[in-house]
Every structure is written in structure tokens, then in C-alpha cells.
């Protein structure tokens, strides 16, 4: 157990904790992390706190790292040393600086498996919550149909020729304002 804990801590300080979180749901990695928490008593390990696309909780290989302090009930019955790990609880990572602003990630572990990854702190310097991911997602036409009737003052479209302009919405807007 001692050896296992030391190895786990060494691995963790190499900065792979979050990578472990990532793969732990599929592989058995998470039980190692959980027993490391138990073995070293109170503190967790150093891990990468990267958040390229925070909503999906992906880790990437950011160089920003922080010590993951465990909070909540790390109620793993570590003394048993059995393979039947039952670690449960929530674990908060340290706040790390990203280009989106300060970000803190929390994981929820149930029976040795990560059941949730939450971004706790998504604020910019003004204290407003920010959009951490700007990735494009499918947009349903029916969802934006209401906007069709919205008043607009100008129209953006692929460049049209002077001839095509004559029958365009922009021409109608311009004519109304002549």
C-alpha cells in the first residue's frame, strides 16, 4: 500500500492527475488516484488544471498545474487495500489561470468512478461569468426563425453584384431610408 501510494503520488506530481480523471472513467486509473488520496492522508496531488473546452472537461496538456486539494468526503476505505475501491466524494482543483480567466474544476467521484466534472469558477476580472468555450455547435433553423421578423437596419450576406443589389433586402432597407 505504501509503495502504491508513493508511486501514485510520484505519478501525480508529474502532472497527470487530470489526465487520469479523463481516462479513469474508461480505464482503471481512477482507483489508483483514489487510493493515493487515502494513502497520503489529506492532500491530493498535483495535476493539470487545463480547460481548453471546459464544458466537456477535457484536459489537454496545458502547462498550468495546481495542487488538487481534496475536499468533501473522501470516504475510500483505503485500509482494505482491496481492488474494490469505493471512493466517493467531490474533489476541487486549484484555481488556474487560463486565457479565459481563472478556472477551477471540481470532479465528483462515486464508487471510484468520475461521475461529473464541473467548472466551478468561470469568471473574468469583472466578476462576470464568461463563456469558456467558443466552439460552434449545431443550430436549428426553427430556433432562430423568430428572428426573421426582427427589425434590422442592415443586412450581411455574401458579396452581391450591383445588379443583384437591386433586388436585395439591403436595397429595400436603403430605399426606405433614402
Amino acid at each position: 500500500m505504501k509503495i502504491r501510494g508513493t508511486v501514485a503520488a510520484a505519478l501525480a506530481s508529474a502532472g497527470i492527475l487530470l489526465a487520469g480523471w479523463q481516462t479513469g472513467t474508461q480505464a482503471g486509473g481512477i482507483s489508483t488516484v483514489a487510493s493515493s488520496t487515502t494513502a497520503t492522508g489529506t492532500t491530493g496531488a498535483t495535476g493539470t488544471g487545463s480547460t481548453g473546452t471546459g464544458s466537456s472537461g477535457s484536459a489537454g496538456s496545458s502547462s498550468s498545474s495546481g495542487t488538487a486539494g481534496s475536499s468533501g468526503s473522501a470516504s475510500s476505505s483505503g485500509s482494505s487495500g482491496s481492488s474494490n475501491s469505493s471512493a466517493s466524494g467531490t474533489y476541487k482543483g486549484n484555481t488556474v489561470q487560463t486565457r479565459f480567466g481563472p478556472v477551477q474544476v471540481q470532479i465528483t467521484v462515486a464508487n471510484g468512478k468520475i461521475t461529473d466534472v464541473t467548472a466551478l469558477q468561470l469568471t473574468n476580472t469583472d466578476g462576470k461569468s464568461i463563456q469558456i468555450s467558443n466552439r460552434a455547435a449545431p443550430l436549428l433553423r426553427s430556433k432562430v426563425l423568430a428572428a426573421q421578423s426582427a427589425n434590422v437596419q442592415t443586412v450581411s450576406g455574401a458579396t452581391i453584384t450591383s445588379d443583384a443589389y437591386l433586388t436585395s433586402l439591403q436595397a429595400a432597407l436603403d430605399a426606405a431610408n433614402l
Binding site: R135, P138, L139, A147, Q153, T154, S156, A158, T159, I160
Partner: protein, 275 residues
Amino acid sequence: MQQTSNPLPATAGTTLKARTFDCMGTVIGLTLPVDSPAEGQPGLDELAAATAVVERLFRDLDETFSLYRPDSEASRLARGELTLPHASAQMRERYAEAHEWRLRTEGAFTPERPDGVLDLSGIIKGHAIREAGTSLLALGRRDWCLNAGGDVLVSGSPHPGSAEPWKAGVVDPADRLTLITGYPLGGNSRHSAMATSGSAERGEHIWRVGSGAGDDGFVQVTVAAGDIVTADVLATAIVAGGTRMLDRAADNWDVAVLAIRADGSMLATPAFQPG
């Protein structure tokens, strides 16, 4: 998408007025809120004066950069009668700017045609809009909307003194008389420029690049950004570079993107998502 339906408070005495002119093969329009248009000779004169400044600027740039004019500097470069080191300072500056964008977009945007001819038309309209905006601000105009063939740059608000943004509609590539959605520009919006590129109309300066091959491609891409050249270049680059370039743009620039495929399906970054 805030405020999709926002009945405007009738600002006393202010009405939007527009003037248009033909240049660069398309129509450019300037819209200003004008005081008391009924008797408003001063207001309309200001609009006419502002439009004249914008038109002068577009015509000067077109004379230098148009490949449709055999006597332009760009045409002489294309024929090899002139080499870049001997070209005018503004020609070299635009070339440098276009090349910088080629690097930033990993080649999805390029100032060279497949036949090797230098073609800066992908950046000149955006540059002209940018310069026109600078001139309007220098003239003391704070509230205006400039639309050059579907690329838009605004300042201030349609209701002077308020934080209300201008509202730009995005045209449906399948039906030019239908809008797909609207987007706020200027006012309290973080973006003041919007450009749309399409593979259907006048897309001759867009060439598909290898990175875009394999996905089914976009027929129309709209980008909102803080400045018009970024919006224009990235819209062009995403049409050429497909989903990969879309992700790169969303990750690396403060932009909002609405991309439409040939089958009508759409991808949108959060700012274009309703709610």
C-alpha cells in the same frame, strides 16, 4: 442573442437616412441617424458629405487594387510589368497584411490565386471599409452603419446617445430575400463588424484548401468581430478551410460565427445561439 424583439423608443426627431454608391462591383451604403429630416437640410448635408468622403476613399483604392482595371497597379503587377519591391507603399502594406493572415489561418486565406497571380481582392474591401470608418470617426461622426456589398461596419447606435446596438440581419443563402437571424453590432455589443462570405456568389477569390477537404463544406459563413478585416478574412478562410478553420477561428479570435452547409444545416458559436 439579446433583445430579439425590442420596440424602439421613438427618439424625438431622429430618423435613419441612407446614401448609396456603386464601387468595386457592388453597392456601398452609408446609413446615419439624422436629426429632424423633415426640414433637416443640415443633417442631410452631413450625410451627403460623409458619403462623399467614403466614396472617394473606395474609388481611390479601387483604382489601385482592381484587377478589373487593366491600368491599375494591381493589374500591372499581375502582368509582371511591375514587381512587388517597386510597388507603391500601400500595395506592399496590403500584401504584407494579407500574408500575415495567410500565416495566421494556416493558408486557408491566401493572397495568391492558384495560377500564382497576386490577388489582394480578399482583403481590399475590408481595408476600404476600415479606412472609411476611420475617416468617419475623424469627421466627428459617432453613429453610423456602413454596408459594402454585405460586409458591415458600425459605430455607436441607430439611436444616438443610447447603448442600443445596430441590428444586422444574416441573409439566407438559399433565399436572398429571407433572413436567417439577426446579430447586434455596436452599441453595447462587443462586436462592431460583420462579414459574410459565400461559395456561391462572387466567390472567385476563395479556393478550397487541403485542410477543408473531407468535410462537406460551407456555402455561407458569417463572422462578427471587433474589426472588419478580421471578420472578412476569417469568413473567407472558413469557407475555404471548413470545420477545422471554423474551430481555429472560434478558439483563437474573439469572434461569433454562423456557418451554413449546402443542405441548410448550420453551425453557430454561442453568441449566435438563441437564449
